[in-house]
């Protein structure tokens, strides 16, 4: 037992290394926050429940009997090799897969115990409660301001004060305010790649959703922009439940509280990130994490 505890401690130190590296240039205040972060352990309040979920692209089944519960106001990472169905699951949560012809599902996904396929729930209402950030940043060809307030505008909000407040709050939440506040009327396409992705995050949180889905948000970004967005996730999880799909194991280890490992459309393992990266239950998980395949 003691041996194992020691191991745990060593692992814990190991795990903190990248984070320390990451934060060595941060200010005092931010360092405090990060210290706090590692100490406080949030309670596990289930928010998203995936129940016996199967998904089919025509004749091809992409997800097999997935049962998964994701906690509120924490970061859940979904990892796995390409084609394992992790994006499919993410896009099922806000019913983005409805757009596909010939695709159908079996089973259920519940948010706060309400099924997302509930007949009484408009899909647009569902999506207003769930923000999404895509792999490839996709700002609209509009001004920065109009990009951020887009979700409010489509919800019928045209009050200038409300919109202004939302822009400032969202850009601050996305750590873009300082860079963008003087150029809100410029085209969003004039931003750099990392800024564009943060703008997409600002756009996703403008309407104060409960859940933020992130589909490999950093895969097209350089390390500095990636670091900024990871730092952002720490800030955002105070207010939002975040589900992130990532290819990058280190990223999952750094940002996620819980991690789900998928392989060939099946959920292999789900658990606390710390535990999963140190002592995975399944051999497949261990092999994937240690880079023996995938």
């Amino acid at each position: 037992m003691t041996e194992k505890d020691d191991d745990m401690e060593i692992m814990e130190q190991e795990r903190q290394k990248p984070r320390e590296r990451h934060f060595r240039q941060k200010t005092e205040e931010q360092a405090d926050i990060s210290a706090e972060r590692t100490e406080v352990k949030e309670p596990f309040n289930p928010l998203i429940e995936v129940v016996n979920y199967n998904f089919f692209y025509g004749a091809t089944q992409a997800l097999f009997d997935v049962d998964l519960t994701m906690p509120e106001k924490q970061v859940t990472a979904i990892i796995g090799p390409s084609g394992c169905g992790k994006s499919t699951l993410l896009r099922s949560i806000n019913r983005m897969n409805d757009l596909l012809d010939n695709a159908y599902h079996r089973g259920d996904i519940r948010i706060r115990e309400q099924s997302i396929y509930d007949a009484g729930l408009e899909v647009t209402e569902l999506r207003k409660r769930i923000g999404m950030v895509f792999q490839k940043s996709n700002p609209f060809p509009k001004t920065i301001y109009e990009n951020v307030v887009y979700s409010l505008r489509v919800a019928g909000q045209n009050n200038k004060t409300v919109l202004n407040e939302a822009v400032e709050r969202s850009l601050k939440a996305a750590a873009l305010w300082d860079e963008a506040k003087d150029r809100l009327d410029e085209s969003a396409l004039s931003l750099s790649g990392g800024q564009m992705q943060r703008l997409c995050i600002a756009r996703a949180v403008a309407n104060r959703p409960e859940i933020l889905l992130m589909d490999e948000p950093c895969s097209a970004l350089d390390p500095i922009a990636t670091a900024k967005i990871e730092e952002l996730m720490y800030q955002l999880k105070k207010d939002y439940t975040i589900v992130i799909v990532t290819h990058n194991m280190q990223q999952a280890a750094r940002v996620a509280d819980h991690t789900a490992f998928f392989y060939m459309g099946r959920l292999i393992e789900f658990g606390e990130t710390k535990k999963m990266f140190m002592s995975p239950d399944k051999k497949q998980t261990e092999e994937y994490i240690t880079g023996r395949f995938g």
Binding site: N94, M96, L99, D101, T124, E125, R127, K128, I130, G131, M132, F134, K136, N138, P139, F140, P141, Y150, S151, R153, V154, A155, S187, L189, M196, C200, R203, A204, N207
Partner: protein
Amino acid sequence: MLKQPPLLKPEVRKYRPPGESFVWFTATGLSLGLVMILFLLGIIFVKGVDVFWPKKAALIELKPDSPAQIGPERFLAGVVTTVQEKIGGDSAALAESQKEWQLFVGNKDVYGYGFKYFDAAFIQKVSYPESLARIERLEYGDAFGYPVMIKLAAGQIRTAGQPGFIGELKRLVHESEKRWDKIRDIEKRQIGKINDRLEDLRLKEKSRTSQHGLEARSHRELIAQEAAGLQGQYQLLAQKAQELRKLQKQDLIVYRLASGEEKELPAGQVLGFYFPNQLNWAGRAGLFCKRVFQYLSDAPREANTEGGVFPAIFGTLVMTVLMSLAVTPFGVLAAIYLREYAKQGFFVRAVRIAVNNLAGVPSIVFGVFGLGFFVYFVGGSIDRLFFKEALPTPTFGTGGILWASLTLALLTVPMVIVATEEALAAVPRGMREGSLACGASKWQTIQRIVLPASAPGILTGLILAMARGASEVAPLMLVGVVKLAPTLPLDGTFPFFHLERKFMHLGFHIYDLGFQSPDSEAAKPMVFATTLLLIGLVVVLNLGAIIIRENLRKKYSTGAF
């Protein structure tokens, strides 16, 4: 030791890589096409511009007793238009010269024709006398001659050579021009207004004939009173116009033709005159600009062979704009449904093929459809419902600019649909998903994201449609285009926009000049000028749309392209 052979033997280098000759083949195809187009445009440009350039007037002295002599004297005056090999004829008699000349002699009122062919062998001498004038007249086209004297109404006579003769001539022409303006104003605008009101009263009266009783009678009396008042005004105006017309005839200008005849012409018939052989380069350029301006701003005269084409330009523009207004929403909405909402399957594929094939239907078929559906069915119904009093004279039940525009809209809608569909398909998927993920409905996504992003592509389709619509003639002949429209579709009388009016069109004007004109030789230059103008107009319309498109493209350019 084994020696490795070099990868590329030196002698191989002189051969071309395989397939290189096909590059030449494709390039030849392109250059052939370009040469043909440039050649065509070049001819149209040169001939079209040439029409307005003032040319020297030649005085040709004929040999004694030549059959080419047309008057008492052995002279011909005019502009040499063609010198060509003689076709047929007695070659032995014309051994020294096989050429014949074509001369624009004008003076159609005297000679009965405007162009004269004669053998080069009959020419004794060609000169360019400075005193030879070219007189532009209201009727019978231009005249060549030497101004001799002016007979003023008061009985005074000014003869050529007296100081101030040319000045007096200019003053007369200027006065007559002003008087014509006045006459036009009275006859077209003022009398036109009174006529409109009389027609209104007549229709009002007609619509009340079915009613009886005291009220109706008093009403009828009121109408009669008003009509009588209008009639009085009409008489006054008509008399005024009559007097002005009389004034136009009082001063006479006398000129002598090169062939010897003398001709008296009322000053009111003269539009202008100039001495083509006195003009220097700047004078010619000035006259050129003036004639181009007149061509663009005047109404046609003399069966369209003289004067300008303003009503045709205006009609073409208005029709093209109306057509664009009709075709854009129609085509865009259809394409949105086809691409965004319709379930992609056999039926949608069939519709798409049908739309594409629609673009290949001969345009005259659309004309026939427009005549049957828009003019007779829709127009006839409108007449029966809203313009009952005017029947049997049709109001909308006859060809008009609205029906022509709608017919052309139908003709060009496939282009807009195809272009819009392509533009919609080119909007990156990520942008749609981004919008949907923000909680936007499908329609909101289309309206706020997809349509703006595809606007440049839609405009490309509209540009194609406009170019096609503006230059289409065949269907228009059935649904409202006329050789000569007395009024414009847009003017100062209420309700300003007269959608039911017939109109003139540059394309039809070309056809009319080239193939329906009584004097094809006189119309030929106008055909080129009008063709050039039509091409120019299409280019201008397209440029306008392209500028809008580039602006949109800048505004909505996406990182994905």
